[in-house]
């Protein structure tokens, strides 16, 4: 697309969004000298629209792309950028102790309930401020970033190989997806192209991660309804999937399996056969368990019309992953991933794509069946260590995008020579947290744990 130079940053972003591009992230460079918006075009390609702040101020795009809300607040807190038109620009990474600066909710009988950062179960740390009348939620403010470790800042100046540790440490549950998005970004910057064998190795690892993650999500939703039999059954299957990860890679969470420019994954014929048999067995047990859940009326009765996010609002808020697909948006990066091995893949959505807890639960099952099928195909033959091919064009900035179990994850790597100048990781969980807050609105407080578990987002790879 040819863009006349006179057009402003806002006009360029606005024109791209009107042309069907989706907002995929915004970040400031580490010195605050530039702000870049990542746009994903309908043909699967990405581009960055860059603007230089004038006296520390750039125009906000939050009215054009509400999904940019958290990104702009983060760039304000971490790089000191001010966004004109983003009012009020509330703190996100830095916490504001002043109560009056929370979104004010006023009216008869309105009260606040503060939950966390330490929760009652085994849950990551984060604070939820509910505004309620009785048990009815009027508004939810999610205050995360209690676990902010400054991983991106700490990775600056490191080599591309060293940078991987910072990305992996961001989140155990999304370790492969985040690692592959980072490796892809580095490889784009370095002019490296993954070979077919490397694409297959990474796709196997991504789908092994999705398998345990989705099994875990179904267990978690059962726990959210206090259905112990369902919770225990799917927790046991999650355990089997993690034990298979040990057999194949030596680690329950597939740590240390991703590398920039290659893969060391080696599975001989016997190992791939063992994997296919165990996956087929887990698949059969999961389908049997799923049928039981479908016919449990008291379980099913808790699910419909709870935590509804319509397709319009999912699109507006920038929802990604199973949450977006359960609302009927058939968007899945796997359908257009030339750097991975997803030939013939197309996104599934449930027949009743109501965007509620029931649809998000069904979405996990539908995606699990896909994942077992993909893995069975990819493991038909042994896999050998592989390297990426050199010789492509080098770039000052590389972008990698991967469909994690929680949705589209984008990684931007800006380089100075052979080192990281700026690293930004925007995960599926990051995109979806504002959607969870929206989904809670108008529901009953006792249903919030269930709504939350129906997204089952990470805090760790949001907080970084």
């Amino acid at each position: 697309m040819t863009i006349p130079a006179v057009e402003s940053y806002r006009e360029r972003v606005g024109a791209a969004l009107a042309g069907g591009s989706r907002f995929a992230g915004l970040h400031a460079t580490s010195d605050g000298s530039h702000v870049r918006t990542l746009l994903a075009d309908p043909d699967g390609s990405t581009r960055l629209e860059t603007v230089a702040p004038e006296r520390g101020v750039v125009p906000s795009i939050v009215d054009l792309a509400p999904a940019a809300g958290w990104d702009e607040r983060e760039a304000h807190d971490l790089q000191g950028i001010r966004f004109a038109g983003h009012e009020p620009l509330r703190l996100l990474v830095n916490h504001d102790p002043a109560l009056e600066r929370w979104v004010p909710v006023r009216g008869d009988d309105v009260y606040q309930l503060a939950v966390g950062p330490v929760h009652a179960g085994i849950i990551e740390s984060g604070h939820f401020r509910f505004h309620l009348v009785g048990d009815r939620i009027l508004h939810l403010d999610a205050q995360l970033f209690y676990k902010h470790r400054g991983l991106e800042r700490a990775a600056e100046g490191k080599t591309f190989d060293e940078g991987l540790a910072y990305v992996s440490r961001a989140c155990a549950a999304c370790n492969v997806a985040n690692g592959v998005s980072y490796a892809s970004a580095c490889e784009e910057a370095l002019g490296l192209a993954p070979t077919a064998e490397l694409r297959r190795a990474r796709t196997i690892l991504l789908e092994l991660e999705r398998a345990w993650s989705h099994l875990n999500d179904i267990a978690a939703i059962c726990a959210g309804v206090s259905l112990a039999a369902g919770n225990n059954s799917f927790a046991a299957l999650t355990e089997r999937a993690r034990r298979l990860n040990v057999v194949l890679t030596g680690h329950r969470f597939l740590f240390h399996t991703i590398r920039v420019g290659g893969s060391e994954l080696a599975l001989d014929e016997e190992q791939t056969q063992v994997a296919r048999e165990e996956l087929a067995s887990i698949n059969a047990a999961a389908r049997r368990g799923w049928r039981e859940l479908l016919f449990n009326t008291s379980f099913q009765d808790r699910l419909p019309d709870i935590g509804v996010v319509s397709a319009t609002h999912a699109e507006r808020l920038g929802a990604v992953g199973p949450g977006a697909r359960a609302a009927g948006l058939a968007q899945d990066l796997r359908a257009d991933s030339p750097l991975l091995s997803y030939e013939g893949f197309s996104a599934v959505v449930p027949e009743r794509a109501a965007g509620d807890v029931q649809a998000r639960l069904e979405q996990r099952a539908l995606e699990l069946w896909q994942t077992f099928e993909i893995l069975d195909g990819l493991l038909e033959r042994p896999i050998r260590p592989a390297v990426a091919e050199a010789g492509g064009e080098e770039h000052p900035i590389g972008v990698g995008r991967v469909e994690s179990p929680r949705g589209a994850t984008s990684c931007v790597v800006e380089r100075r020579d052979d080192r990281i100048e700026r690293l930004r990781l925007r995960t599926g969980s990051y995109a979806n947290w504002p959607v969870v807050a929206y989904a809670a609105t108008d529901n009953l407080l006792p249903d919030f744990p269930l709504i939350n578990k129906s997204f089952e987002l990470c805090y760790a790879c949001v907080d970084r």
């Binding site: 330490v118 009652a120 989140c171 875990n216 039999a229 225990n232 046991a236």
Partner: protein, 167 residues
């Protein structure tokens, strides 16, 4: 549902977990002080049929007010320092602090120095260290069971167990 229950009963027999030697219990409160979520995922598995830690009288309780043991995962971030200290202060004495996972022990910490306080022992007295990245459910189970049965801490845990019902 009967199918699920039957399958679970069969799985329980197959796994054949040993029963505890004697009836005691510990109430555990978990605090994520800045982990990558790996320790949390493995802790959650301790309740699954493969480990079933409840059979030993070990349970995660909803509040530090009910807890004998504070199980802390992750390197302590600057933003979690205060919530962690509040949780510890809320616990009845005697109390024990367990540092869970390499980050909580201060191994290979990654991050920005302004955002990290350091290992758990930088701000709390640590009684038990469980290494691993993340520690496996077996490693967590063994270490915590050691708090009840025949561990260096055994003499004090006899008084600790009086705050909650025996198994």
């Amino acid at each position: 549902m009967l199918t699920l229950l039957r399958d679970l009963r069969r799985l329980r027999k197959t796994i054949g977990l040993p029963q505890p030697r004697r009836g005691r219990s510990l109430a555990i409160r978990h605090v994520d002080a800045g982990s990558c979520n790996g320790c949390e995922h493995e802790l959650t598995q301790l309740a699954s049929p493969y480990y079933d830690l409840q059979r030993l009288g070990l349970g995660v309780v909803a509040s530090p007010r009910h807890a004998d043991v504070l199980l802390v995962a992750g390197a302590v971030t600057s933003r979690m320092r205060e919530p962690l200290l509040i949780a510890y202060a809320a616990m009845p004495k005697p109390r024990r602090v367990v540092a869970l996972g390499d980050c909580a022990l201060g191994c290979n910490l990654l991050g920005n120095t302004d955002d990290l306080i350091g290992p758990v022992e930088a701000i709390l007295p640590v009684d038990l260290r469980i290494p691993g990245c993340p520690p496996t459910p077996e490693a967590i189970a063994e270490a915590i069971i050691g708090l009840i049965d025949g561990s260096p801490l055994a003499p004090t845990t006899t008084t600790v167990s009086s705050t909650s019902g025996s198994s």
